[in-house]
Subunit: 115 residues, 2 copies
């Protein structure tokens, strides 16, 4: 899938409408359309990053902004105290659906096993 076919790129570019729960210069956040928990948000870099392993180290370091976005969202959604899980799936065994890097934020009930 190229950038031109990528649904997350289209949402980031506002070609496909979706409510942004958060945005900064680097990432945006939307609700997962198939939520697996009462709170299920996707935090997505605007850049079309397909595979962590093929990114240069400095771009990986820039992904720390996923964590700052997640803490802002956790506060906004009032789940900081109750707790939340951050998940990045990469490749076939992980269950990754969209080949554009994204971090899941799950919360709102006691979560089960991590894998």
């Amino acid at each position: 899938m190229t950038k031109d076919d990528c649904i997350f790129c289209k949402i980031g570019d506002r070609e496909i409408p979706a409510e942004f729960l958060y945005r900064d210069d680097f990432v945006f956040a939307i609700r997962d359309i198939k939520p697996e928990a009462p709170v299920h948000i996707l935090i997505i870099p605007f850049a079309h990053i397909v595979d962590l392993s093929s990114e240069p180290t400095e771009r990986l370091h820039a992904l720390g902004s996923l964590f700052s976005a997640s803490t802002t969202l956790a506060k906004q959604l009032n789940v900081t105290e109750s707790g939340y899980r951050l998940v990045v799936n990469q490749g076939p065994d992980s269950g990754q659906w969209v080949p554009h890097l994204h971090m899941h934020l799950l919360a709102g009930r006691p979560l089960s096993a991590i894998g």
Copy 2:
């Protein structure tokens, strides 16, 4: 739990022995002692970070190094192609056990639901 009682701080300080599968100036990686998948690694900052939400933004941005460590480990463990999952649990609902920030790297079989 203070830093003095923290098992991950003791492992990072080499007070408790454990095999480091990876280390750089910021993080180290060890095998999970209760693995939930054939590959189950913990990537742990040396700094005693308890709660993402109470960290200043610049420290959160520095956590991008968790991703660079994870890609190095994925290559080392030969799971880049088969895929892997990265998980950070925060607070009661997440199932977090040790209150010192850590990222799980899971791989080696098709993983189940994320939460």
